[in-house]
């Protein structure tokens, strides 16, 4: 498929390769950060060419740039493009029985805008004063030209705007596609949970990326045009602005953003635990409703990131209550996953292992978030590595493992080849264990008081004893990096010489597996399927009896049954027509 192809599958592949490339870059930046914490001020092997004056050692400004770019690259250019760009673009139309996205040209444009942002990010490494170095959150006044002059910060700010524009376009595309382009019979109640996750995340993208755009545009105007929106104090002219406004605007986007990063993974976990327990998802409606509730509340909890910003305590209490409330739907969903697993016929395939690992890391990360949601415990923990461990477990590890759950699950469909299952399991298990090692270690260090973004924590007497802990987590981080080589080897070998995949290797009933070839051709389906049942029709007695297997396709007619609905909906069968309400009429 050419670079100009409008096919959603081609767009998905472009996002996949770009996202994996930026994942590598973000990962290398993370290893540089870990090196600094384990061996502060020591030359980083292999970096002497980039930092000749310090012979490869990170200096404080370089360290600041490294952790800034790590965060920005991972969030905007790696995880989001992999979840939405690669998996979302590929799976969503297929799973709902559509021939493509509602706006194919918009999806192609969205990729190229993202790619432009990626080019700007890479270019920022080459400019004289280096890339952005004001934290991924880019708080003013540090991020204004008064305190971070230079082209790098500006380029990266524009790059974030590009990534946001791309997110807005594909968010809109996904929402309209799900609303308008479902196959006949694909009611909202028959959507796979992955589609629900992508749908709600797209709603959040569409609503809250404009808020990021507003914050970023105002910041750009401050940097380039001399406006005073976020500049106050000594740097202000004529009665300046207020940097805290940026924090409110940013986190009004930033908190929904973390749900944007996890909702598709939640959806995938919901589907995968059902598929590989050979049971319908327990509490399908509750799970979809929980995802919707979390989405609805996500914009109302944002100021828990601002508990220490000098906000009114009354506001602090209000946001605290809402933040603790928003954990409840996630707990409902978690319980539904557990109940799906309970007494299921569990198949520990690589996607299932990745889904289970996602549950574990998200569970732990979510619980640590409760300490941050309450004001009293947030005040001592804010700005420490506890926060870093929390969001890496929930946003880094859980989303990352969710991406790999999706990749391992849909890889045979995307490429028509089967990855080596053994290598996949090694990759997933080692990554999960090492994630817990790295980010668990960060939680411990944060609880002990190590602040985030410190160049040399050990200059403080009270943190000197944390050196062995940080060295241990650095070893885990390097091993985690090495574990990714297993995936790369598996991927490269399979693409070159992998065996052809079966048509439906996971034996599940969703449309992409039962009605489309691997990989799907142009138009996805020879004939648009007519959906007759939900996505988790597993282990149904009549199917076992009539077909001799424990799964049936969403659009598959069950032989010997005149109609596919419940007795209450009984209407006589007749040929040839299908109504839009999913019944044979």
């Amino acid at each position: 498929m050419s670079l100009l192809s409008l096919d959603h599958k081609a767009v998905a592949r472009r996002y996949l390769w770009s996202g994996l490339g930026f994942l590598l870059l973000g990962g290398l930046l993370a290893l540089a950060i870990r090196w600094q914490w384990a061996w502060p001020g020591q030359p980083v092997p292999g970096l002497a060419w980039a930092l000749p004056e310090s012979r490869g050692a990170l200096t404080p400004p370089t360290y600041t740039a490294v952790f800034t770019m790590h965060g920005l690259v991972m969030i905007f250019f790696a995880v989001t493009p992999l979840l939405f760009g690669a998996l979302g673009h590929f799976v969503l139309p297929l799973a709902i029985g559509a021939r493509g996205l509602a706006f194919p040209r918009l999806s192609a444009l969205g990729y190229w805008v993202y790619a432009l942002g990626g080019v700007l990010v890479l270019a920022s490494f080459a400019v004289r004063l280096g890339p952005a170095s004001a934290g991924w959150t880019a708080y003013p006044p540090l991020s204004t030209s008064a305190f971070t002059p230079g082209l790098g910060q500006t380029l990266v700010t524009v790059a974030v705007l590009c990534a946001g524009t791309s997110a807005f376009t594909y968010g809109l595309n996904f929402v309209v596609t799900v609303a308008r382009c479902r196959a006949p019979g694909m009611t909202w109640g028959r959507l796979p949970l992955t589609v629900w996750g992508l749908f709600f995340a797209s709603v959040l993208n569409v609503l809250f990326v404009p808020v990021l755009a507003a914050a970023t545009v105002l910041l750009l105007m401050d940097r380039l045009l001399g406006t005073q929106f976020f500049i106050a104090g000594a740097a202000a002219v004529g009665g300046g602005g207020d940097p805290v406004v940026y924090q409110h605007l940013f986190w009004l986007f930033g908190h929904p953003e973390v749900y944007i990063l996890i909702l598709p993974a939640w959806g995938m976990v919901g589907d995968l635990v059902a598929f590989f327990s050979r049971k319908p998802a327990h509490g399908y409606r509750l799970t979809a409703g929980a995802m919707g509730t979390v989405s609805a509340l996500s914009g109302l909890v944002y100021a828990h990131h601002l508990f220490t910003s000098g906000m009114s305590p009354l506001l602090g209490r209000s946001f605290m209550v809402l933040t603790l409330l928003i954990s409840l739907p996630a707990e409902v969903m978690f319980l539904n996953w557990l109940m799906t697993l309970w007494r299921g016929s569990v198949r520990l395939t690589s996607p299932m292992l990745a889904a289970l690992a996602t549950m574990v890391v998200f569970g732990l990360g979510g619980i640590t978030g409760l300490a941050l949601g309450a004001v009293a415990t947030d005040v001592p923990l804010h700005g420490t590595l506890w926060v870093v461990g929390h969001f890496h477990l929930t946003m880094g590890a859980a989303s990352f493992l969710g991406v790999f759950a999706g990749l391992y699950f849909w890889f045979p469909k995307m490429f028509g080849r089967a990855l080596h299952e053994g290598l996949a399991k090694v990759h997933v298990l080692s990554s999960a264990v090492l994630f817990l090692g790295v980010f668990g270690g960060q939680l411990a260090a944060g609880y002990a008081g190590q602040l985030r973004r410190l160049y040399d924590p050990y200059q403080y007497t009270y943190l000197k004893h944390l050196l062995p802990l940080n060295q241990w987590t650095t070893v885990c981080a390097f091993l985690l990096g090495a574990a990714q080589v297993v995936f790369v080897v598996n991927l490269a070998w399979t693409l070159r010489r992998g065996r052809a995949a079966e048509a439906n290797p996971w034996q599940v009933g969703t449309l992409e597996w039962t009605c489309a070839s691997s990989p799907p051709g142009e138009g996805n389906f020879t004939q648009v399927p007519v959906v007759l049942r939900g996505p988790h029709a597993l282990s149904q007695p009549e199917v076992l009896e009539r077909l001799g297997r424990d799964w049936i396709g969403q659009a598959e007619v069950l032989p010997g049954v005149a109609r596919q609905d419940t007795a209450e909906d009984a209407v006589p069968a007749s040929e040839g027509t299908v109504s839009t309400v999913g019944r044979v009429t």
Partner: protein, 229 residues
């Protein structure tokens, strides 16, 4: 092993989508023969014509929904800007703008007039004049806004950075809104151009009219948040 059936699998629920085959038309692909067509067995030409018409209507409906949702969501951009302005103005009162409020209001009236003209013009489907009139009004709006900001800067010395955050908001938000008006006006220009070349632009025009209403509504927000004392 649980024999529980999918609680959703057997329930028939009303779909949002009203046409059975809504997918191929939205992509401009060759439409599938509708399943309902097979029953009546019309001629193949009639079947494909009615199917193509249905697909086109469906594609237009999809594009309309996308426009409505996109614009509604993009209003969050202006809402955020208004939030920021509201924050600053609640913290500290701003000096009144030295630019004529009546002048700014009459400038916005051009947008409001354009909204009315376009709304009425949609009733008369074949006439190009409402769209051309709106095009002129849009360009007039931009010219007048440029004049007010020019006057504010050079004559009244409402400047960046000397004017502080109030001047930043006046110039910055006026420029951001003007960029949106420029985008909508450019879109209208291309609609008129395509119409002059004989294309059927009714659906496209409807979407651009929605865009016009959007920038008009956002101007009202701008006026209340920034221009009014």
């Amino acid at each position: 092993m649980s024999a529980e059936r999918n609680p959703m699998g057997d329930k028939a629920e009303t779909r949002v989508d009203s046409t059975p085959h809504s997918t191929s038309g939205a992509l401009g692909m060759k439409p599938l023969p509708s399943v309902s067509d097979a029953r009546a067995e019309p001629s193949s030409l009639e079947a494909s014509t009615s199917s193509a018409t249905a697909e086109t209507a469906n594609a237009e409906g999809t594009a309309w929904l996308g426009t409505v949702l996109g614009l509604a969501a993009w209003s969050m951009f202006f809402a955020s800007l208004a939030f920021a302005v509201g924050w600053y103005r609640m913290r500290e009162p701003w000096p009144s703008l030295p630019v004529s409020l009546l002048g700014l209001g009459l400038t916005g009236l051009l947008l409001l007039t354009g909204s009315a003209v376009l709304h009425l013009g949609l009733q008369r489907r074949e006439s190009p004049w409402p769209a051309r009139c709106a095009l002129a009004l849009g360009l007039g709006f931009l010219a007048l806004q440029a004049m007010w900001t020019h006057q504010a800067w050079w004559t009244e010395h409402v400047r960046i950075p000397e004017g502080g955050v109030s001047a930043s908001a006046f110039h910055g938000l006026t420029a951001l809104h003007a960029l949106h008006v420029l985008g909508v006006t450019a879109g209208l220009f291309f609609v008129c151009w395509r119409h002059a070349r004989g294309a059927d632009v009714r659906a496209s025009l409807r979407r651009h009219v929605l865009g016009w209403h959007f920038v008009t509504a956002m101007w009202v927000l701008l006026f209340v948040a920034v221009y009014l004392p």
